[in-house]
Amino acid sequence: MSINRREFLRIAGLSIAGIGLSATNPIFRDSTEAIQVSQMPEALKAKRWAMVIDIRKFRTEEDYKRVIEACHSIHNVPDFGNPKDEIKWIWTEDYEHAFPGQENPYLPESLKHKLFVLLCNHCENPPCVRVCPTKATFKRPDGITMQDMHRCIGCRFCMAACPYGARSFNYRNPRPFIKDPNPEYPSRMIGVVEKCTFCTERLDKGLMPACVEKSNGAMIFGDLDDPNSEVRKVLSKNYSIRRKQELGTRPVVFYIIGGDENAG
């Protein structure tokens, strides 16, 4: 049987209409469609999360240790006991290395040897996000530079791009080196890059970041876009500096340094 052009077009048209209709047919529908998800009602929200670190309030070794320990223990950060493989989300460094280019030989002696608490700066213009080939690291609408470990392929472009050394690579399986694993939080696997996340998992549950909570007021966390937030109040009253501003990454971790009074 042969069909003429008119017949062919009629059948073709009907077939296309049929496919269109069947798209609403349940057998074509993904069974996990139309799911309802939402934020937790207690979640903390902001337009632009930021942190102020008042380094004057870090006086003893214990002050640093408490903050770092709080972060590393709840996030299952391994301790390989060797600086080459080190994984760090929050760490310390002296003035010269934290703020290169801003050192001078006549700084107060106390400041030269003062340790600064460093962490991911959650830049407004993050080079790590720009270079990530899989979008494993990305910018949340609230300004947090987040890592999706499921997507990380371990190419380490982000580590090369980050001017702050905030990213660490798992050269070895971290599992055996986690002292006291927190069962509420995942670990990482060999071959992925990790860093501070501003405790997104805590913010989403209405809690402040772990380091802020344990800092006794030395670290202040809040919304940079809200003129009444605590970070803005502190920033408007104190002189603050940021790490490597000249690079244009626009970091949102601010340091209040103070003068000689931070000796101690």
Partner: protein, 132 residues
């Protein structure tokens, strides 16, 4: 036929290799996977219901988990409303495994049978199980 003997021998060897999986497993009874739901946590529940229906979970749990992952990590949405409108925190470690605390008898049982190796546990911590 040139070299007929060699060709026939070759075909016989080829068939023997190709059919090896079939005759080597012939007559062997394969034990059916038998995932267990008898954890102490589940026994304590008055209403023994998972996030979604049993059939849905059996067929679609991998899709559900993938979507949960993206909702939580990428969008920061942590609450899931199921078909009945009940809310659950989307978390493998803190929701799923809180009830199904028997990874070996619950997850691995079928995954081993189906020879699938999901990489969940490379990072996610599994609940502590007593060796039994």
């Amino acid at each position: 036929m040139y070299d007929g003997g060699k060709i026939i021998l070759g075909i016989v060897i080829f068939l023997a290799i190709v059919t090896f999986p079939f005759y080597s497993n012939m007559g062997k009874a394969v034990t059916k996977p038998d995932p267990k739901l008898d954890t102490p946590e589940i026994k304590k529940l008055t209403e023994k219901k998972c996030v979604e229906t049993k059939d849905f979970m059996r067929a679609e749990h991998m899709k559900l988990l993938n979507q949960w992952r993206d909702f939580v990590v990428r969008d920061g949405n942590r609450l899931y409303a199921n078909a009945e409108g009940k809310l659950y925190q989307m978390s493998l470690q803190n929701t799923c495994m809180k009830c199904h605390s028997n990874k070996k008898k619950f997850c691995d049982e079928c995954h081993k049978f189906a020879d699938v190796n999901p990489y969940c546990w490379d990072c996610h911590l599994q609940p502590k199980e007593s060796e039994s």
